[in-house]
Amino acid sequence: MLVTACAKPGPDHPPGEPFDPYENTNRKIHEFNRSVDRALIRPAGKGYSNFLPDDIETLIGRFAFNLSLPGSIVNNILQGNGRGATEDTYRFVVNSTMGLGGFFDPASEIGMPKPTKADFGQTLYAWGVREGAYVELPLLGPSTERATVGKVVDLFTNPLTYALESPQNYYGTIASASSRLSDRGRYSETIDSILYQSADSYSQAQSLYLQNRRFKLGNGSGDTYLDPYDDPYGEEGEDPYDQ
């Protein structure tokens, strides 16, 4: 069912181009996101970031990230990645105890393996579900059909949602919303340059998102530089000297 849920590009689709059959709708949502950003999120992010000391912002970011680890562990198991599941479990245990509930990050300080950041979108990739069309989600921004299904499922796969009682089970959500607001403030110049200074902010955001998402799915291997951008004319992703 999931396999068929994601749209498939036609045979005449140029391989180097993003698969974007919903471009008209996506662009409307992009405009909506931009206006929300301009009116609310950008000023709120700046205010939040200026109001809170950087150290506190870092603590909240770490706390939110730590609470996302159980979801990562579940996804590692679903992907058959026993090693990733084990590493994330150790990180969660160490940071939740020695890191005082995740506010500190002793796991990184003692050189434990990097967190896998596995999500259900990645699990679908591992299961062979195709990427589907590019979509821009209201408030959440750039995504693909596969990643969107993943996001919805991730809402339900984080064990903490079930293990904790209300209102404690909302702490993670609140912390991650705060941490996103904090990012908007900290990365203000970068986001502004994409949203308000590029010739076409929709295309620029799409390009950055797709390149980075594919890189992450390939587990950080540089080889993904080539495959998403193979086109029949050898102009993209290929050696630019071959023309």
């Binding site: 921004g141 970068t190 010739a199 076409d200 950055l208 950080g220 102009e235 050696d239």
Partner: protein, 201 residues
């Protein structure tokens, strides 16, 4: 959204030009070594610029000289135009490449202040198809380390880099999207695009 990644991309491009390369590892094969030597030079030149403490506009102009010297600006600029590059006259192409070089220098050079206290370490070099990939890790304050690849080729006749890839995001491909959008906005008029590029960034 993709905020942290986009920032890494921007800062990565700047930082990669400016970081401190702590070279380590065994000796590489001759061409690997020369690719690495190139990137070492890029970084050491930029460090001098940063240490000079000059004004932002002076630093951007120094940065442009370094980009012109160590990057194959011709091939980067040309490939951002894609198939459209075929319809440019040689004079238009020269004007485009000149404008492009200044645009890149302004766009990324003005972000230099954001990586104070950071550093880059070269992790290794490998051969990929017809080029060499110099892998490095960028360490920024308050940020987890991330990967930057320099793609170096000698097919222009000299060892020059023709792309930088920050966590999967390629400078050349991202600018291709941006230049394509700028050209669309001008309804395909290359001269108008060149005019826009001279003040963009």
């Amino acid at each position: 959204m993709t905020s942290s990644v986009s920032r890494r991309y921007f800062i990565g491009v700047s930082a990669a030009f400016a970081g401190v390369l702590a070279g380590r590892g065994p000796a590489f094969a001759l061409s690997d070594q020369s690719a690495r030597t190139l990137i070492d030079r890029v970084v050491s030149d930029i460090n001098k610029v940063i240490a000079s403490g000059r004004s932002q506009s002076a630093m951007i102009s120094d940065f442009e000289k370094i980009f012109a010297r160590y990057a194959d600006v011709n091939i980067i600029a040309q490939s951002t135009l894609g198939a459209d590059s075929r319809r440019l006259s040689p004079a238009q192409m020269r004007a485009f490449v000149d404008a492009f070089r200044g645009y890149i220098a302004r766009k990324y050079g003005k972000r230099f202040n954001e990586f104070v206290g950071g550093k880059i370490e070269v992790e290794g070099v490998r051969e990929v198809k017809s080029w060499h990939e110099v892998a490095s890790t960028v360490y920024l304050r308050g940020e987890s380390p991330f990967q930057v690849l320099f793609l170096v080729s000698d097919r222009s006749g000299k060892d020059l880099f023709f792309d930088m890839v920050i966590e999967g995001v390629s400078l050349r491909l991202s600018e291709r999207t941006e230049i394509g959008s700028m050209l669309d906005r001008r309804k395909g008029n290359v001269d108008a695009l060149i005019q826009d590029l001279r003040s963009a960034g």
